[in-house]
C-alpha cells in the first residue's frame, strides 16, 4: 500500500462509535447493509489489489527526489557574467516552484482543518489559519504581481522597492 499521509499535520477526529445497546431481537439493518457492502464491494476490490500488487512487486522500479546544489545568487554575480546570470535565474525559478508548492500544502492543511471542525472552524483551526495568512502575505509580497514573464531580476527589483518603502516609512 502507498505510504499514509502525515498524521501529525492532518489529525483524525476522535471516534464517535456509540455503545451497542440492543433492545430488540430484530436484526440491525445498518449492520446488514454494511456487511453486504463489505462482501460485494470491499472484499473483491481488496483481493484484486492484492493480486495485482503481488504481480507487480517482482520488478518494482524506484524513483528519487532530485537534489540541486545551491549556486551564487543574482546579487553575487559580476556584471556581464551571463553564465552566472543563467544559473541564478534557474535557481530562482526552482525556488519559485517550491514556494508555490509550499503555499499549496499550507492551504490544503487549512482546508482539511476546516472540513474536520465543521462549523466551529474559526476557533479550532486558529493555528492553521494564522499560518496560511502569514504564508500567503509573504508570497504576495515576494512574488505577488510579477506576472507571467517573472524573472529573478524583476523579483530583485521588487525587493529593492520594498526595502526603499520600508526605509521611507521608518525615516
Amino acid at each position: 500500500m502507498p505510504t499514509d499521509y502525515d498524521k501529525g499535520a492532518y489529525p483524525e477526529p476522535p471516534r464517535q462509535t456509540p455503545v451497542v445497546d440492543k433492545q430488540t431481537a430484530l436484526p440491525n439493518p445498518a449492520l446488514i447493509l454494511s456487511k453486504l457492502f463489505y462482501y460485494s464491494v470491499d472484499l473483491p476490490v481488496t483481493t484484486f489489489r492484492d493480486v495485482v500488487d503481488s504481480i507487480r512487486s517482482k520488478n518494482r522500479p524506484v524513483y528519487f527526489h532530485q537534489k540541486f546544489r545551491r549556486v551564487p545568487d543574482l546579487t553575487e554575480c559580476h556584471h556581464g557574467d551571463y553564465l552566472c546570470y543563467y544559473e541564478a535565474e534557474m535557481q530562482w525559478r526552482r525556488d519559485y516552484k517550491v514556494d508555490q508548492e509550499i503555499v499549496k500544502v499550507v492551504q490544503e492543511r487549512m482546508r482539511a482543518c476546516h472540513q474536520r471542525e465543521g462549523s466551529s472552524y474559526q476557533q479550532n483551526c486558529a493555528n492553521e489559519i494564522q499560518q496560511f495568512t502569514e504564508v500567503t502575505h509573504n508570497y504576495q509580497s515576494r512574488y505577488g504581481d510579477l506576472g507571467a514573464y517573472a524573472s529573478g531580476r524583476k523579483c530583485l527589483m521588487k525587493q529593492k522597492e520594498r526595502m526603499i518603502a520600508a526605509q521611507a516609512q521608518t525615516a
Binding site: P61, V62, L83
Partner: protein, 185 residues
C-alpha cells in the same frame, strides 16, 4: 347496370350482417365475396410487414462503422499495452537516494511509460542545462570580441600607430625630381 351493382352490394352487406342464414354463403352469392370477419385466422407473430419509406442511412452508418474501425485499430492495442504496463510493471516507489549513487535522469519519474519516454527520447536536464550554458558562453565571447574590435578600431584610428587604417603611399624612388633639380630649370 347500376341497379345490378346496387343489388349486389346490398346482398353482400346483408350476408355480412347475418352470416348464419342459409342463403348467404359465399359460394352461391352473386360472385361477390363477403368478408367473413368471424372466421379469419389472426396471428400476432410478426405483424403486417410494412415497406417503410425513409431517406437512406447507408452513408451515415458507413461513416460510423469506418470511424469505429479506425479508432479501435490503434485504440485497442494502446489500451491493452497501457493496462499490461499498469498491471505487470507498476508505478515506482519513492525512496531516499543512497549517498554515493547519482540517479539517471529517467529515475526521477514515477510512471513507467513516462520513464521510458524520458529514457528513449529526451536528453537529461543536466545535458540541456550544459548545452544552454555552452550557447550562452559562445554568444558572450562573440559579444566581447565585437566590443573589443570596436574599441581597437577607435584607438587605431585616433593614434594611427597600429596596422589598421594605414594608407599605402607611393614609392619615393619613383618620383622624378629632374625638372626641379636645379634652380635654373
Amino acid at each position: 347496370m347500376v341497379g345490378m351493382s346496387v343489388l349486389r352490394s346490398a346482398a353482400a352487406f346483408a350476408a355480412r350482417l347475418s352470416p348464419l342464414k342459409s342463403g348467404n354463403n359465399a359460394a352461391n352469392l352473386l360472385s361477390r365475396a363477403i368478408p367473413r370477419t368471424d372466421k379469419v385466422a389472426v396471428r400476432w407473430c410478426h405483424g403486417k410487414k410494412m415497406f417503410v419509406i425513409k431517406p437512406t442511412d447507408f452513408y451515415d452508418r458507413r461513416f460510423l462503422r469506418l470511424l469505429q474501425f479506425y479508432i479501435l485499430l490503434t485504440g485497442i492495442p494502446v489500451a491493452v499495452i497501457v493496462t499490461c504496463v499498469n498491471v505487470f510493471v507498476g508505478e515506482a516507489e519513492l525512496v531516499e537516494a543512497p549517498e554515493d549513487y547519482e540517479p539517471e535522469h529517467w529515475e526521477y519519474y514515477k510512471h513507467p511509460i513516462t520513464r521510458w519516454i524520458t529514457w528513449a527520447f529526451y536528453d537529461s536536464p543536466v545535458k540541456d542545462y550544459e548545452k544552454m550554458m555552452a550557447a550562452i558562453q559562445i554568444e558572450k565571447e562573440k559579444a566581447d570580441m565585437r566590443l573589443t574590435q570596436l574599441e581597437v578600431r577607435r584607438q587605431m584610428r585616433s593614434k594611427g600607430d597600429g596596422p589598421w587604417f594605414q594608407v599605402e603611399t607611393l614609392n619615393k624612388e619613383l618620383i622624378d625630381y629632374s625638372h626641379k633639380s636645379n634652380p635654373d630649370n
